[in-house]
Amino acid sequence: MERRDFLRKAAFAAAGTMVVPAFMKPFEALALDELSLYKNLVVVQLSGGNDGLNTVVPFGNDIYYQMRNGIAIKPDDVIKLNDMQGLNPNLSCLKELYDQGWMSIINDVGYPNPDRSHFRSMDIWQTASDANQYLSTGWIGRYLDSNCQTCKFPYTAIEVDDSLSLAMKGLSKKGIALKDPAALFRNTNEPFFREMIQSDKDHLDEENLGYLYKTMIETSSSANYIQNTSKIYKPNYTYPNSAFANQLKTVSKFICSGLKTRVYYVSLSGFDTHVNQLNQQGRLLQQYAEGMNAFVKDLHQNNKLEDTLVITFSEFGRRVAQNASNGTDHGTANNMFLFGGRLKKQGIYNAAPDLANLDNGDLKYQVDFREVYGTILDKWLDVNNSQVLNKRFNTLGFI
């Protein structure tokens, strides 16, 4: 190298380091063991409004059979958990996890003045808003915004999908959506992309252009980190062949390779079963259960189950009575599933739905879903839930 060239480059480099704002420093360079002990949360969304009463079946209650004579699950087919409730036979794979103490069921989770529109109710669940309140940020996004010790990386929350759900969007920070770390890595390492983020940094102070550049730099940095960390890990567990199981397999790869991500988000669609529900829901529940079975056992085998909490929700349950097409229509409160190696209350968390005491044909909620979020924020993600949920919610005893 010519001396003159060298000098010019050295001067540029020195000047460069002086003007580079803190957020631009490569995250890979931060001390690796800064946060070696921490816990993961995996959120599983069942889209379309899963029928909770045919998922966890109240076989001990006659009203269930009276109101659903076309689609009720026969007592003999139910996988019994206690005298009152049992699992849909398509969830047989979950029984093993249940017996190990790795699973918990919360009945009747909902919120006041429930909305029966898919879109609106999903909005409420994802933003953790009241029924008459509109928020443009999601609950995990606001957790990222809270700037707590555990959430400073741009890859703190990952959704295994092509696009990012509202739940993952905060005001100043957002989760990252990716289906395939290698593909994102290729995209952010295209020469043109690299050239754009490596050349002048003049615009970083500008309001919106700066935000675009910052997003590009963080995406690139995260893509490198995620790809380089996760590619070392060789998966050693066999998953069933479904898109849902594949998402979980990707999450497991990230967790087992020691990625410093704290929240993962996956989803399974198709639960809007208005017509001929039994087969449709059965097929989906089976996919769900097989995927979860592999995922939980995989984590256990890799000593990660203790550090992982999985929650499953759907935007609403369905009405107690079936409709005329052997399906069910949009309802309200629903059960949630929890999985993990450190559940404090294993098995069924609270009383079964009271089918004799309905609100216009719908279940009344016993637990506000924000109490479940609040518990996780407080006890698992180590942030005061009022900071994220905009008011304080009681915590429950499941972890």
Binding site: G48, D123, P154, D162, S163, N187, T188, N208, L209, S269
Partner: protein, 475 residues
Amino acid sequence: MDRKDNFSNIKHLYNRAGFGIAYPDLLQLSKRKLNKAVNGLFVSPAPGTDLTTVKPDEFKQQQLLLSSLNGKKELTPEEKQQREDITKGRNEKSRDLNLNWVQRMISTPNPLLEKMTLFWHGHFACRANNPFYAQQLNNIQRNNALGSFKTLLMEVSKSPAMLDYLNNQQNKKGHPNENFSRELMELFTLGRGNYTETDIKEAARSFTGWAYNKTGEFEFNPKTHDALQKTFFGKTGNFDGEAIIDQILAKPETSVFICRKLYTFFVNDTPNETHVKELATHFYAQQYDITALMKQLFNADWFYSKENMGNKIKSPVEFLVNLSREFYVTYNKPQILIQLQSSLGQYLFNPPNVAGWPGGKNWIDSSSLMLRLKIPSLVLNDGILDFDGKADPEEEAVIALNKKQKPRPVKSYVNAQADWPKFLSCFPKDMKQTEMAAFLLEPTVGKKISELVSSNVNLKNTVIAVTSMPEYQLC
């Protein structure tokens, strides 16, 4: 003002008030005074026409058939098929309606009108299951886009789409439903803090009886209307819905609220309250005449100040329409435009909720930005889209009906053609690469971009590079 300033001001004006401007038009307009160009936006070469994707006759026939099917206890297999066909037909029409509007925005000779319609579409955000109602509401928003806000508000409030969406069909004497009343004040007119919970309750009572009939027309039903006294904003009287809307408009806060929202849409994400006040005073004095307001806005000095230029993130629809207009793009499979809207987070006719799309930085996250940076090269260079958006929650029932969960195709060709000869013929032969970059981008072209493009040998490469830059996301 010199020629160069006028050039960038008019470009700015057309980007914000419309969907960009062709180079020859820009040169032409730069020779004239700025206020002439502003006025020109309001003189439409052709009157705005309704979208007519769903024909009224077709809708009426469907309604008749549906009500006879719904009246039956048991349906024959043929009748079940008929009902499924109706649902399927509606879904197709909803898609067509969306695409017809996007195509209209791409080719319209009247860009301000469509831009305003887009604004009202987000302001009076609504999801309608029935595409005929969605179309009706869209046409109300277009017909009044530059007219009287009072008429617009009244017609929107009486549209089947909104009555249905905000549950006014269930708002009856003795059993008021407050949904419409609350959103009317919180989101459509006054904004939080300018009314009480009592006002909402009393207004809800006043709107009882506002409904629509089977043929999709507004109908006042005196039987379900609560005709007793109500106390609204401290006044007591036997108010009906119209009287409530009049009282809401009589409050200057409504003018401020609308002007602030217009300001964040057309000028800057962060409202300058002095400017907002200036607009609101004028709007109120002009009795809510939208044209008067918009002329004031586009003629204001501050509209052309440095901090208000090249700093707004294009909404996904603005981005797609700008790009398609600029390069005369033909989509051989127009459905791709729906996939892109959905993946980028602005699926027209399907806002996230009644508050509309939050906009600004909310449009951008890592995945939506990566996709945005990629789209120009896909559209202009006929690339492959390796992206597979989320299903809309309303489509879950369709997904549930599919017997097998078959994986959706991961790769699809965008299958679009830009008219390069037409685009390139607009420019002088000796157009420099940096001049092209400066024309296509709203933010100032700095050293970096100049260096990146100046080594190119042809303009086409420069265009593809420039449109793939983050700077192209701004207008």
